[in-house]
Amino acid sequence: MTTLRPDPLTTSTFRERARAQLAKPFLREAVPKATDHAVAALRTRFADHDYEALRELGRAIRAEAIADLDRHLADLEQALVANGVRVHHAADAGAARDLIRGIVRDAGGRTVVKVKSMATEEIDLNPALAADGVRVVETDLGEYVVQLDGDRPSHIIAPIIHKTRGEVRESLSRAVGRELPDDAAALTGVARAQLRDAFMEADVGISGANFGVADTGTICLVTNEGNGRMCTSLPRVHIALMGVERVVPRMTDLAVLLPLLTGAGTGQLVTSYVNLLSGPRRPGEPDGPEEMHVVLLDNGRRALRGTPYEEVLHCIRCGACQNVCPVYRQVGGHAYGWVYGGPIGAVLTPLFRGQRDGGELSQATSLCGACDDVCPVKIPLHDLLLSLRRDRAAAGVAPRGERIAARLWSWAWAHPATYRLSVRLARAASLPARHPAVARRLPLAGRWAAGRTLPRPARRPYHRRLR
């Protein structure tokens, strides 16, 4: 895959990126606060309802959609076309970029307004359009700030979870060329005015898709700010980029999936705007785009069917697994180095980017399983992570030191005699290692001792008491 922006995944390790994030005091305060808030909201939302039963229904719907993906996609395409939508197929990120660039070019598009979309992040769309001389404006407040800063979103649904109000103030002040007050309402107002201009000028609106409804030919787009509605109402052309896995068989399936998506994501009963888009403006309607395009993005998705990882295609991108993840809580989304952070990112990145580039991320979790318990469609993330780790070891892309350590451990601990010998050796080595300066230099123990007292093997391990 070619990326037009620097690719942290190939130029740094998770440890390096995580360290950089751990050094940001605001992030350390803001991420736990925001994610705890979301988790508490989810609990409150479902306190009087049967979340377990609802997510079981959600799982079944997603499983049905993915099990017969091609048929549902064919149905979706047929229904979309019947609604006057032009449907395109993109095998990979490059194809998707080219398709969208072509549609924008044909539309004579000079200004594009965008609704927050992880799929467009995945294909790195904005730099490609910019290279064509098209002005691209992200209209979700968080994404707008991310764009002003040349940054990346760090959470699936809360893109600037990592930024302070002060940082946002600086970015927006720079954008408008005057000092703005340090006040969230005022800053929001300024962004609104800026973005309103963009909406009015835009020729093309680009969105992702939360769901593609096969039986009615409808793209479902969920937002709180109303920018989804704006981007799909005012510009002459609307393009929706949809990962092929987002298809659902029936409109009524949304009665299950919407409360799961918004409940798990933000704890809301329903977001402020749920847009159901079934084609361009029709006769008798006062507004709406003249053209609607749907680009169906594969980019490695279909290939996951029939593999142990098929269930990752059930994901509805709610961000709940990020909110409960104790690792994400500490390091935020950027540490993961690609588009998707947190547990879902630790699974998707190795799958989409390959073991060589992305394999490390399957290790970037303590395997606590909190993500499994919260996922609204019951994706077994914990098992998928274990599988990925196993694949990584089998593919031989694990660092040499790790492979040697695993072999040594296996050799020594497979027999009681060598096990006991290793314990005695460790005990002997632990004497000088009591000195932190020494401990820090030890190969594996040193990494432990950097922040923790090294446990000292007992003088009489339990097995010696059994003689």
Binding site: L141, A184, T188, V270
Partner: protein
């Protein structure tokens, strides 16, 4: 192969459905207020007054009224004039982006509403932008169009008439992107007033 969701099951487990025996209007009012929608339940004879009052309360001077409220538009004309409010037809201003920009408020009907979620459903003849582009949105909801829950609405969509785009709108536009501070009115309206029209004498909202 699973079937479409079972309404009885969903009503038991989903927060977006009405509980058995629950009064739809009461639930609608409660949920809408929870998400910062101003709600009033009124009778038809008081409708024009209620809408005018909502506009006056927001200080709106220039408002557009959508086509789905065509008769009401003329019933209200006198009152609006009296209140110093200039009313235009939304379909007249919709193509003119500058005119849209100058609107203080829009008044629309809606295709439907959902009791369990406090949502209104807009689109179709009222347009996509009608409920969106001005800082204030006043929406008239007919009691007969109030669906119990999300599933009932989605099942009924094909009968609501063809529309290229509909939106389930729940409360004003909002964002919490900056340090989780809730701000209303990000891109859409910062104030939403819903007037529910019941034919029987209204029970006063709690």
């Amino acid at each position: 192969m699973t079937a479409a969701p079972d309404p009885a099951l969903l009503a038991r487990i989903a927060p977006t459905e009405l509980r058995p025996g629950e009064d739809p209007v009461t639930r609608f009012v409660r949920e809408a207020r929870l998400v910062q929608t101003a709600v009033e339940v009124t009778t038809r004879d008081r409708l024009a007054a209620a809408v005018t009052e909502a506009l006056r309360a927001e200080g709106a001077r220039r408002v557009a009224v959508a086509a789905d409220l065509a008769p009401l538009r003329y019933e209200m004309a006198a009152r609006l004039r009296e209140a110093g409010i200039e009313a235009v037809r939304y379909e007249d201003v919709a193509p003119d982006r500058d005119a849209v920009r100058d609107l203080d408020a829009t008044v629309t009907g809606c295709m439907a509403a959902v009791a369990a979620t406090g949502s209104i459903v807009t689109g179709g003849a009222a347009g996509r932008g009608g409920a969106l582009v001005a800082p204030v949105h006043v929406c008239v909801v007919e009691r007969s169009r109030l669906f119990d829950g999300l599933l009932a609405l989605l099942r009924a969509l094909p009968d609501l008439g063809a529309a290229s785009a509909i939106a389930l709108q729940t409360g004003p536009s909002r964002t919490a992107d900056i340090e989780k501070t809730l701000i209303l009115g990000m891109h859409g309206p910062k104030a939403v007033h819903v007037v529910v029209v019941v034919d029987a004498p209204a029970t006063p909202a709690p």
